[in-house]
Symmetry: C2
């Protein structure tokens, strides 16, 4: 029956041809514009600084630290047979292509050599066995490459792009009739960022300056030919990451062409029904992740990104060009709206809509999604006004009011002074945050709710930096600047105190080894959505730079 | 003291400059001629025939056999996730470059895949774990490659040249969000042999025809841009292999330019003192195995190879060109000659001369080396005569006589009717063989000695096919044609009965797992020095083809 149904659908779509594809006419032009604004990558040669020992230390991040042990020449001037397992430290997070040479010491290269190079963003990645692999994502994301070198001398370039600071070199096999050494280890590092932005105000605290710097490096590493989510893993454009990266970019590198490219790329690769794919790939040719569940909240944040892009650039031409796809996203909320103006998240999820909000399994997403919809509607209406397109979304103000009323009636617990979500009336950061950012909560309700989170038991906390961004924003919007600054210093500052060179995809101050994928070495340790201190520190200078 | 000595030597050689390099003037011209006769490889596309299961079977060679299990399409049309561990059978031994494609089945390639391909010449290579590696040669000779494929579709070419019949494909990691399959597995096979030689006489037994065919395939696989010893392992030109390959080539493919190239290459890369390196490499530029011990018996066989080349081709120009280096090799035997005309093998070995003769640790080599010297001297003198150069090696006839007398006095045990070697008067195949081939033994002594080997206890038997070649030759030279034919049928026929597609580097009928390198999967299963049934069957047609 199921087979037959699919077959029928296929025949139907074949008969109806292109008529069913939304924005058929615009897609090609959107993709051409995406291509037009593809940045040329800036390449630079980076060399390791010195050798390190990996030392087990219960107080270090994930139990391992890298301790400077010897100058690089100790590697370059000694047989690799004697140095197998050596770890070189490039001193910074790099994204790029690694080469090295092998030079004979004595004898004639009479047999191939087998080498294993393992690249790590953090020390524990080099010290934790990868196999048997317990993780949920592809084992192949882990950056260990086994190489056969047929003869020495040789110069080897690993074809795969790596994201790393450390590289471990192991010799798995070699002839005993000759000897050789490694030399000229080099990374051709790439980014689309040509230069660092202006310094912070003098007098900015060292802690804030350090967080800003790591945030900039994180963003720089993720800015390749799209805003990538993470240069080590996924390496693709997600709407949620794009939104946060483009905010940080506005206050730092100001590469608005990259934002424009990404907005066009997503539009050009929308689903046939006109709703947006949550993520897209650039190679071998631009394409979406076909078959992936529809990620509702990300599609809504596309509109916010476009509106912010227009505000920052005043590029009305682009905003007008992309307006139809933004408008289209506004049709979705109606589908699961109950008579009281509450979005039926449970039914949407049952129908394979992915409601992300945060990496947090036990989070009830009803309130947060309600808030995100309202937030998106308000931003979309604002966008429409700036483009003179209010008439095309004339129903939005009424919907916003209805959803706000619905949220206040169903989700605000006056007695407790917090927003609750779902049948079990769950209290979470996510619910408060989005009720605040959407403007459902009044300023004083917002302040009360955010403070209540600090004392209330059984509160569902943020699962990672993505939601933490919205938390800081909610604190600032609620006038709780000191709390915002403190939260930023505690959370992102916490990563720095644990040795972060770039900010991590996942961070739980109480559990270094938490992973949404069942194996912490597969986490990305340079992740776009964690870069936003750059945005806060530079946008709200009066809070953070004094 | 030792350091100082080396330093002094270095200074001395710096002062004396090039004066100390023998054949300084000729080397470049010899290397140029080697390059001139470098063959263009013939490439052909080979596809697997079907899939096989590896089945454990105590009666099979090394305990494993490959059993046809499914058509190739079973692999090509099914997810590799469901077929990981599959083994494809190309149906013949191939030497070349392997490519394959990956095609999506459903979903979008959202993460890299990690694959391992293991290539085997024989089934057990695919069923025996390689690690922890117990062998003495480089682990990297083993043909397993781990590959990261960043996106699908993809076409992958493994850069390393492989020698194999079977390939096992394992999936070590992939995304669960899309699926893919392997297709277009192909080997661009190379050899410098353009076509197979003429058929054997009608009426030749099936067994002999089968041995001839496998011998031809072995030789064809080893004939690349030099006569390689083995296309899987070592992959280089050794004098000992060259001698046997060039004999087999004369009676089959008749590619005399390849023999000429190899003779020039070895001459052009001689040691500075003018004695020959046992083996040389072609890339990145032609070079010898510097620092390896001097392999005395191989240097002597160079002269025999040159003489046989001249006989087969009548190419006097080449033989005259290379005569000086052949003549030079004749200076070595004098160095360790005792007053009775016996070469002092023990002292030579102590001085780091490698006396190979056979892969056999417990073999006393004194008698065999004595025979090889005489054999080489006789061939060299024959060569000199054909070139009108007798006067340049006028001392040879006398030396031959003296060494023959010495051998007869010291090594022939009249009572037992065998030649004995060393202080323990060891009786071995090697000693009888070389006393016979050198002409030290009379025809009747030869016949007696060879027959005695069959019944005598405590006889050191041949360690492998290299010495077995000389054994067959000795039987024929002694008029024991039936024994020669029987031995060939038993020994090389034994490999075929155990499933050989090409003849093996090492073969002990009583021990499938014997290895000179401590791990039988590192043995070469297509090895030049085992191809010589081709020579016997085709040269001695009256013995083998009737």
């Amino acid at each position: 029956m199921k087979q037959y149904f699919y077959l029928f659908g296929f025949i139907l779509s074949s008969f109806c041809g292109n008529a069913q594809i939304a924005f058929q006419a615009e897609r090609q032009s959107w993709l051409q514009k995406a291509e037009l604004y593809k940045p040329k990558l800036v390449e630079s040669e980076k060399h390791p600084l010195y050798l390190v020992n990996l030392v087990q230390d219960a107080t270090a991040f994930q139990g391992w630290k890298a301790v400077k042990s010897a100058p690089l020449d100790t590697l370059y001037q000694t047989s690799i047979k004697k140095r197998s397992g050596v770890v070189a430290d490039f001193g910074e997070h790099l994204t790029g292509y690694v080469s090295f040479s092998l030079q004979a010491i004595w004898g004639t290269s009479d047999a191939p050599a087998r080498l294993k190079l393992t690249f790590g963003e953090v020390p524990a990645e080099l010290a934790t066995p990868f196999d048997p692999y317990p993780g949920g994502l592809s084992r192949a994301w882990l950056q260990d490459e086994v190489i056969t070198v047929m003869e020495v001398p040789a110069t080897i370039t690993i074809p795969r792009r790596m994201a790393f600071r450390y590289v471990k070199i192991e010799l798995l096999g070699a002839s005993s009739y000759f000897d050789f050494r490694i030399s000229d280890l080099v990374c051709k590092a790439t980014t689309s960022v040509p230069a660092m932005p202006s310094a912070l105000a003098s007098g900015t605290s060292e802690q804030i300056a350090a967080i800003d710097k790591v945030g900039l490096l994180t963003l720089k590493e993720c800015m390749q030919t799209v805003y990538e989510d993470g240069p080590k893993r996924d390496r693709r454009l997600w709407i949620g990451d794009l939104y946060l990266e483009s905010l940080a970019n506005e206050y730092s590198f100001r590469n608005f062409d990259l934002t424009k490219r990404c907005l066009y790329l997503l539009a050009g690769l929308a689903q046939n029904d006109g709703y947006l794919h949550s993520n897209v790939f650039e190679t071998p040719e631009p394409h979406p992740q076909a078959g992936a569940p529809f990620l509702f909240d990300y599609s809504l944040l596309y509109n916010v990104t476009l509106k912010e892009y227009l505000r920052a650039t005043n590029d009305k031409e682009t905003a007008l060009d992309l307006w139809p796809i933004a408008k289209k996203q506004m049709e979705n909320p109606k589908k699961y709206m109950d008579p009281y103006g509450v979005f039926d998240a449970a039914t949407a999820a049952k129908n394979r809509w992915w409601l992300f909000v945060d990496w947090k399994n036990d989070l009830d997403r009803t309130a947060a999604i309600q808030g995100i919809i309202i937030y998106s509607m308000k931003n979309t209406y604002e966008l429409a006004k700036q483009l003179g397109k209010e008439s095309e979304v004339a129903e939005l103000p009424e919907m916003i009011k209805k959803m706000t009323d619905g949220a206040r009636k169903r989700m605000y617990d006056k007695k407790m002074g917090v927003f609750v979500s779902g049948p079990n009336r769950q209290i979470s950061y996510a619910s408060q945050i989005w009720m605040i950012l959407s403007g459902v909560a009044t300023k004083s309700e917002a302040r009360n709710a955010l403070k209540k989170l600090q004392t209330e038991k059984d509160v569902v906390r943020p699962g990672g930096p993505y939601l933490y961004h919205y938390y800081i924003e909610a604190l600032i919007q609620s006038g709780l600047s000191d709390m915002a600054k403190q939260a930023l210093l505690t959370y992102w500052g916490g990563m720095i105190r644990k040795g972060a060179d770039t900010f991590w995809e996942v961070y739980d101050p109480s559990d270094d080894k938490v992973s949404p994928y069942g194996f912490y070495p597969i986490n990305s340790y340079c992740h776009a959505w964690s870069c936003t201190p750059v945005y806060f520190i530079r946008k709200y200078a009066d809070i953070f730079q004094k």
